[in-house]
């Protein structure tokens, strides 16, 4: 703040009137022209002969350097001057105007291939984040990872019929508009449904990959007015609030759903339809994409404001827009923030945030996101198929070491110090229960772990590692996507405690692109998992460390764990679990359903529900988002709370530049 205020008056002067030291002329000239080089005869002769040309070239170079210094500072001058005037004029108008405080610059490592969220090659989270700022849905997700009505006027009315069908009556907020001025109505919601469910003449879905789960059981969709509509499901669908997370603009696409679906498949990649930018319902409108360099989004003047309980500013964005600079190198991102070429970054490693945290010029913030890290156990490994061995691993694992080593000192209250103990509910959700902790797991209980191993015949060897008379040394490989510094640190922190318990953990990581196909999702390994160990190769991997994504509707997690699921790498197969999962998803009462999901969690993280094949997931921690913002350039910031890990685009209206 002080820097900007004291610098601005100087920068208001034209560059050429400023003292030379302010524009770099003196420094530059003395560096290059003040030095008298020692020349030998030939060179002196050469210099004499070409002195005019050399002088001209030197002058040109000096002018270019002075001009470049001028140009660099002029940018800063413009921003500081504008910022000063905004501070004076816009007090008390927060949320009423659009923009006015300059462009927010976010340096981020990922660049999406395109903006088609469901392109198979485009599973980048950044794509979802960018679209979060442009297209709103019926419900949003708040900092507690709970749904809140976003485009809706309030919680919809749910009517349960005697035949088991469920009808939900929705009412949209008043005055919703698209950024091009058209009204956002119930027809847009119906269009979104019809387009996603459209089929071609051969009876195949047209939309490339849109998730139709929950949409496929809709039996009726009635629009009764521009702001009111009803949707009927043949049976209760627990994830109904997760549907229509984006409402698409009907008025820019063909009326026929099949044609519209085909048109959207093309339009979403470039975010343009027939050369026109797609209209937004969110706080930002797509503006420009300089591939490989940056993407610009500008303030939406028609934005109806945020209803998020976390929003400080419930009006339009106060920044003119957001420029996302794609900076792949982490150190370069940090330098960009330090040098004023970025206002916000959200990167790792945490060491940089430690540095920023002790510097008054920056603010660091964090929030617990929906992504959680876990160790997945191969139930067909010769050691891991014994419940006692899995329990020994769970007992010996010391999550507090990981938290203390990587998170707690910097972001103490963001995540529980004892780590995560649930794979259905995250620690920041109201229904979270630390089931692992309650079972005594994850606390580094070496003695209990040893006792478990010895109870099934393991004998401690002279090297301090247990061995089984028939299955050999208790050595297990843990793999993950190599190069992920945070995961590698987690592995190293956990490895030491396992060694104390007599379990040899070998870190066996492979490069990101190779890891999945080489280890947990290897075709032979999947065959093994899917066939109950009868086919394929069950020794491809032992332990896999990776992340799944939670959310306000955790029922999706069951899809991974059901018998025969393509994502069920663990080999878990339990008909009782499958039935329970169905029961949970069909439970209408919110509290009962939440409890039901906690019961499902017990199958995955303990032996309570399935003493033979349970306990095949060892949750470690949620992955928090770390942000560093410039305190000297921003008057307010909206990066946290951010349960979606969606970065500065989630609460963009809360950002304001000085």
């Amino acid at each position: 703040m002080t820097t900007g205020a004291t610098r601005a008056p100087v920068m208001d002067e034209p560059c050429w009137l400023r003292p030379a030291s302010q524009v770099g002329a003196k420094v530059m000239q003395s560096s290059f022209l003040g030095v008298t080089p020692y020349l030998f005869d030939g060179e002196v002769e050469f210099m004499k002969k070409h002195s005019k040309a050399i002088r001209f070239a030197a002058s040109l170079f000096a002018v270019a350097l002075v001009a470049s210094a001028c140009g660099g500072s002029d940018d800063a001058a413009t921003e500081d001057t504008v910022a000063d005037s905004v501070e004076e004029t816009d007090s008390g108008t927060d949320g009423e105007g659009c923009g006015g405080s300059g462009t927010l610059i976010w340096a981020h490592e990922q660049e999406p291939g395109d903006l088609h969220l469901d392109d198979p090659e485009n599973g980048l989270t950044i794509t979802a984040w960018i679209r979060t700022g442009m297209w709103e849905g019926l419900f949003g997700v708040n900092s507690k990872t709970e749904f809140y009505p976003r485009l809706l006027a309030g919680e919809p009315e749910v009517v349960n019929a005697a035949d088991g069908s469920v009808t939900v009556n929705y009412t949209l907020r008043e005055g919703l508009k698209w950024s091009d001025g058209d009204d956002l109505t119930a027809d847009d919601v119906k269009y979104t449904n019809d387009m996603l469910m459209a089929k071609d003449s051969a009876g195949e879905y047209i939309y490339l990959l849109g998730d139709r789960t929950g949409l496929d059981t809709i039996t009726d969709f009635v629009v009764s007015s521009p702001s009111q509509f009803s949707v009927t499901w043949s049976q209760f669908f627990a994830g109904w609030k997760a549907l229509f997370g984006e409402v698409h603009p009907l008025h820019v696409f063909p009326a026929d759903p099949a044609e519209a679906a085909a048109a959207e498949n093309d339009a979403l990649r470039t975010w343009t339809q027939d050369g026109t930018v797609l209209p937004s319902s969110g706080p930002l409108v797509f503006s420009e994409w300089n591939k490989g360099v940056s993407m610009s989004l500008v303030c939406n003047p028609e934005y109806h404001g945020s209803t998020s309980p976390d929003a400080v500013n419930t009006g339009k964005a106060q920044v003119d827009g957001v420029q996302i600079n794609f900076v792949p190198d982490t150190d370069a991102q940090i330098n960009a923030l330090k040098s004023g070429e970025a206002d916000v970054i959200m990167t790792q490693p945490q060491l940089a945030f430690e540095e920023f945290g002790t510097n008054d010029e920056f603010i660091v913030a964090s929030s617990a996101g929906p992504i959680y890290e876990h160790w997945g156990l191969n139930l067909f490994n010769k050691h891991l198929k014994k419940p006692e061995v899995r329990e020994a691993l769970a007992l010996a694992m010391n999550k507090a070491d990981v938290m203390k080593g990587l998170y707690t000192p910097l972001f103490g209250d963001t995540l529980p110090a004892e780590g995560l103990g649930n794979v259905y509910w995250m620690s920041n959700q109201g229904d979270y229960v630390d089931a692992s902790g309650a079972a005594g797991y994850g606390k580094g209980d070496v003695a209990a772990a040893k006792a478990k191993l010895e109870s099934v015949g393991y004998v401690l060897g002279s090297d301090g590692i247990y061995a089984h008379p028939s299955d050999g040394v208790l050595s297990l490989r843990v793999g993950t996507t190599g190069g992920n510094k945070l995961r590698e640190l987690q592995q190293q922190l956990l490895q030491a405690k396992f060694k104390e318990a007599g379990i040899d953990i070998v870190i066996f990581n492979q490069p990101g692109g190779e890891y999945w196909g080489a280890q947990p999702f290897n075709e032979e390994a999947l065959k093994c998992a899917g066939s109950g160990g009868k086919e394929g190769d069950c020794n491809v991997w032992d332990i896999a460390q990776f992340a799944w994504v939670g959310g306000p509707w955790p029922g999706g997690q069951s899809g991974v764990l059901r018998t025969g699921s393509g994502n069920n790498i663990y080999g878990f197969a339990n008909a009782e679990f499958d039935a329970k999962a169905d029961e949970c998803d069909a439970t209408v009462d919110d509290a009962k359903r939440a409890g039901c999901y906690n019961e499902l969690n017990l199958y995955a993280v303990t032996l309570q529900k399935d003493a033979n094949t349970g306990l095949f997931m060892l949750p470690i921690t949620q992955k928090p988002s770390f942000y560093a913002v410039s305190a000297t350039r921003l008057a307010s910031y909206g990066v946290a709370p951010d349960a979606n890990n969606a970065g500065p685009l989630l609460n963009v209206a809360d950002f304001k530049k000085k």
Binding site: Y38, S68, E121, L209, R269, N325, A332, S339, E341, W516
Partner: protein, 318 residues
């Protein structure tokens, strides 16, 4: 000469085809474009099938390169799935961005290398020579990423703190005006110059020392030629022959994309594109960049061979 050029060009064709085949097989064997898609099956079945079709993943890795050759011969290098554009347009666009950094870096480092070589060899074991030698060893020892990050911190953080202004951008390409381009191009160019000139000047100095103590240079001096003529016209010309080889290799490498420098300075050139292509993996883009780099290397090696003949007429290109 023409026969030589034609023969050289023709001899590179099997080399190029062999290299392309090996790269295709190598990348196919070590990467899995379906890895992330397996995570979302069966939801991603359509996309999964699409990728199988694009890269012909149902075929043996030994057969797959032939389909790529077939398309490439018809001028179709495929579409970059990682960047979302045709490989040809990525090569042109990114290649030009890389050239914007590579060409000035090459020219500046080549000129500096010549000047420093002459200067050091003329003042062997002087303080300046020791200083330049020290600088060269420093440049050789420091990794590129370190040089780049130090320049970023110096010009982006420290210098503005000391002086109150920032002459150069430390990241991203700016093309709004020629001045902005100059401001954004300076540090990546400087990084490449520091790294390149260190090796080239050491090489050039050694050559110059050898040449200036040779008989024909002594003869030239004895004939009464000025020192400038002896050094710049006679000695340097011969000393440049090994340097030309180095320049050809360096320039080809620079034009193929400097992965580290371009990544650190967020320069949208071929280097970062190659990294994206390898990590995705985007086989068509890997192949496109590889073939471009190979072609550049071949062309510049050919130019280097031709320059030998010009620099030393005793060399016959038969």
């Amino acid at each position: 000469m023409l026969t030589y050029v034609v023969r050289r060009v023709l001899s590179t064709v099997p080399l190029l085809i062999g290299a392309m085949y090996l790269v295709h097989v190598g990348v196919s064997a070590t990467s899995d474009p379906l890895a992330s898609l397996r995570l979302c099956l069966p939801r991603c079945q359509e996309g999964y099938d699409r990728i199988v079709e694009i890269y012909e993943l149902d075929q043996s890795i030994w057969v797959r390169p032939f389909a790529w050759f077939d398309d490439a011969l018809r001028g179709d290098f495929g579409k970059s799935e990682a960047i979302g554009e045709s490989v040809a347009s990525v090569l042109v666009e990114r290649g030009l961005n890389t050239a914007m950094v590579a060409i000035p870096a090459f020219l500046v480092s080549a000129l500096l290398a010549v000047f420093l070589s002459v200067y050091s060899s003329r003042r062997q074991y002087s303080k300046t020579d020791y200083a330049l030698t020290g600088f060269s060893f420093l440049g050789l020892a420091l990794p590129t990423f370190f040089v780049g990050l130090v320049l970023q911190v110096f010009w982006g953080v420290w210098f503005p703190k000391w002086t109150g202004f920032k002459p150069f951008y430390t990241g991203s390409m700016r093309t709004e005006s020629p001045l902005e381009l100059l401001q954004s191009i300076t540090l990546p160019v400087l990084t490449l110059v520091i790294v390149s000139v260190a090796a080239e000047s050491r090489f050039g100095r050694a050559n110059m020392l050898e040449i200036i103590s040779s008989d024909y240079v002594r003869t030239a001096r004895a004939k009464g030629l000025s020192e400038r003529q002896v050094i710049w016209k006679h000695a340097l010309r011969n000393a440049m022959i090994p340097l030309v080889t180095l320049w050809a290799l360096d320039f080809a490498a620079l034009l193929g994309g400097s992965v580290i420098t371009e990544t650190i300075f967020s320069w949208p050139g071929l280097g970062p594109a190659f990294v994206i292509a390898l990590t995705k993996p985007d086989l068509d883009l890997v192949m496109g960049i590889t073939i471009l780099t190979a072609l550049i290397a071949i062309i510049f090696n050919l130019i280097a061979d031709l320059l030998y003949g010009w620099l030393d007429p005793r060399i016959r290109l038969d």
